[in-house]
Amino acid sequence: MSGRDEAILGNAADSAPWDAAERLPHGTEAGGARVDHIVVLGLVPPGARVLDIGCGDGSLLALLRDRRGVDGRGIELSREGVNACLARGLPVIQGDADTDLANYPDDAFDVVVLSQTIQATRNPRIVLEHLLRIGRQVIISFPNFGHWRVRSELAFRGRMPVTEILPEAWYETQNIHHCTIRDFVGLCREIGARIEKATALDARGRPMRFSMPWWFWNLIGAQGVFLLRRGAPRD
């Protein structure tokens, strides 16, 4: 690992990026909402204009609308997902993160959410740059390919990992651009994205509540959740 890379990670860890997790409403899982959605809920200010990219059946948008009073919009690739969103009364367009983001104006949204999708895009870097351009804040989550189970599948079995969070075999997965939490931090640095908050979730999507350095999260976090803003890193 290069000294430069270490410096970034150390710096980000110093600024206590995991504090957000400590303030999340951990007890709310009983409400029926997905736990990783509750994490996002904790990061979105009330009344915000939100774009959820890859919004699926609209459950996160509906949660944000009902609990935060947000003005939410969505983009979803599947027809089934768009129909489910329409039935919930959510303004969702059938579209593709790789092709449709270019058409949104700068600062169109207060918050742009990309859940578990960036690893399935053709050009994650361009997608991330669009997110930072369209939204004043970006919440992005992705499966961590640096998780110890992934590493052990590769290291000891010599097989592409099939885990709780990466359930499909290599030949049928949509995920074409895997990355680790550290890889993602590196990309943020490269395109000048500021990491405002970050947290790691366990395989069930629950936030891990203790503070640890990046290498540790990169090993035991099943997914990473980042709150980003455009601008230079604070170093």
Partner: protein, 404 residues
Amino acid sequence: MDTIPDTALKPEPVAETGMRARLPADLPQALDPRSPVARFGTDEPLPMDAGVLLAPFQIAYQTAGTLNAARSNAVLICHALTGDQHFAHTHPVTGKPGWWETLVGPGKPIDTDRYFVICSNVIGSCMGSTGPASIDPATDRPYGLDFPLVTIRDMVRAQAMLLDRLGIRDLFLCVGGSMGGMQVLQWAALYPERVFAALPIATGPRHSAQNIAFHEVGRQAIMADPAWADGRYLEAGTRPAKGLGVARMGAHITYLSEPALHRKFGRRFQGGSAPTFSFNADFQIESYLRHQGLSFVERFDANAYLYLTRAMDYFDLAEDHGGVLAKAFQGTKTRFCVISFTSDWLFPTSESRAIVHALNAASAPVAFVEVESDKGHDAFLLDEPTMFSAARGFIDAAARARGL
């Protein structure tokens, strides 16, 4: 309902007689339609984009359902190029059921038990609203080509006057496909405060060069028919049936898709298994198209076809707003749902996406669905469950938001 009737698959006299048709002596529905008519006198002219004040004029319309006490449940259906006001009513000429009974009716996505649904024949058409077949009060003979050129905006202005007459301040929903979708977009741009929800289907923000080209072929076919008589055929006692039939045949191809044509007709022969070595309608697809041309001529006026195709050609919503489509929807509070079909090559999905992108840029709430269908442009008139479920979801949610 399907656009391809069983008769198309039976041997028909068409093959022998070519393009001759039994024609009605005149166009009774144009002057005295079998539906309610709103008449506007010289004190209430229609200001038209051509720079004329049209007066007097009339609008023929149909309704279904009941207007609620708050007058908040009105739905305006905008019909397509050769459509009419009989969306849920037996057609007075063809005897067929209403053209949108798939989508509109009791318990349907546009539920006539809940909403008051209106559809008016557009200005320039021939089913009872003023158009080129109407009598010009200045000359006491049919307008013909003296009728001013009509635009989509003129149609919408006339519809707004009809709503004023009916005491309807604003629409819960404005919905339409193809040229009807153009009117929906025009409504949202011209009277945003009067449209709560807009559902444009299988349409575009402008007519493409290819679409203008197809229309021009149709118009030239009509004008090349000697019976067209420079547009004065009603007085001459002739009808440009051949020209109008050919125009319809050409246009009809654009409403379908190659896979649908192949599935319905393939290269199958009509009433035999071998070519006749003649120019009779050997192939089923030829017989079908001739049937389409003939049946169209019986219900539609050739000059109206010229005017309405031209209105679509002139439509370019971005051009009306300095070349920026998003400006047409600036500040709108209307909620939109845009629907396209995968096999529609007349108004391909890219046209709908242009609308969606403009609405996004204008921060308007917009939903968009591309429906998988091999039935081409006409899919919006057919049994398309995905379209129905998308429309139902959008309309039900809008109704909740409006407290209906």
